[in-house]
Symmetry: C2
Subunit: 142 residues, 2 copies
Amino acid sequence: MDKCNAKNLLVSKKLKVTKQRQLILERIIGRQGIFTVNSLYTKLEDEIDLVTIYRVISIFEEKGIIREVLSNYEEKRYELACIHNPVHPHFNCSVCNELFCLEAVSDNLIKLLQENISDYLVKDISIQFKGICKKCLENNLT
Amino acid sequence: MDKCNAKNLLVSKKLKVTKQRQLILERIIGRQGIFTVNSLYTKLEDEIDLVTIYRVISIFEEKGIIREVLSNYEEKRYELACIHNPVHPHFNCSVCNELFCLEAVSDNLIKLLQENISDYLVKDISIQFKGICKKCLENNLT
DNA sequence: AAAATATATGCAACTTACTTGCAATTAGAA
DNA sequence: TTCTAATTGCAAGTAAGTTGCATATATTTT
Ligand SMILES: [Mn+2]
Ligand SMILES: [Mn+2]
Ligand SMILES: [Zn+2]
Ligand SMILES: [Zn+2]
């Protein structure tokens, strides 16, 4: 199965296909990484108002097209939520402060993590590592 | 070893012992849970200015007296960081939207989680579950 | 114990991510 | 093509958190 198609995805989620929604979704699908509302606005400000991006992102999240990434930044972070991008841990470098996507954790390991939690109905799990990324480690030695 | 003592903790971290810092730290130690700046302010507004709480919390975090809890709330969340409260996962209920502290995960399991991450120097790990808490599950059935 | 000094506090004003109201526009149905 | 409800853009608002600066206070020095 290949990459998602913006227009089809909008139609399948029963969303009106507007120029703005297409542009935003195409960018999200094209880049395949973590993004913020402002990172989208920087690229699309000639064509879309900032408020519209906020509203579109909010709708995309409700419809499950994107998911919010757990983080402590002031700006909310999101990423595409589709079969090509299953839930996975992230790594936050405390030097460059970037947020990296990591490989998904095995189902077995997830089960082990959930074993102790009896009083709750678990639907989702977020894992974030903190430390120093390879680039910053190398730079620090120089 | 018994509970931390606010004044001693301040002195050991080489911080000036002010009335405000003592009051804030005593409350954090006394309650032993997750807190926000505003939750402290609600209880201490007659004696401490909101800005002072922000500044004290910022210093406490730098000194490692408290740690920020990873979350997607608009307001930052913190908890006491001491031998009595080692790093542990949290559970976020999507119904009541509360954030619960869970038992710490075994070192073995943490090691397994880190095994795949070769390009990074890991210093810390945050785990947050999302789902429905016992109370909300019971209420939903009623 | 008093004076000196460096730090902490409180108030007002500011910044910034995000939201809301409303009139104008537009996608999709009829 | 016309109609209607949903979407958009602009302006204004909200709320968490920050900053400048004068005053107050904890700790050091005398
Ligand atoms: Mn990711
Ligand atoms: Mn906790
Ligand atoms: Zn880095
Ligand atoms: Zn709940």
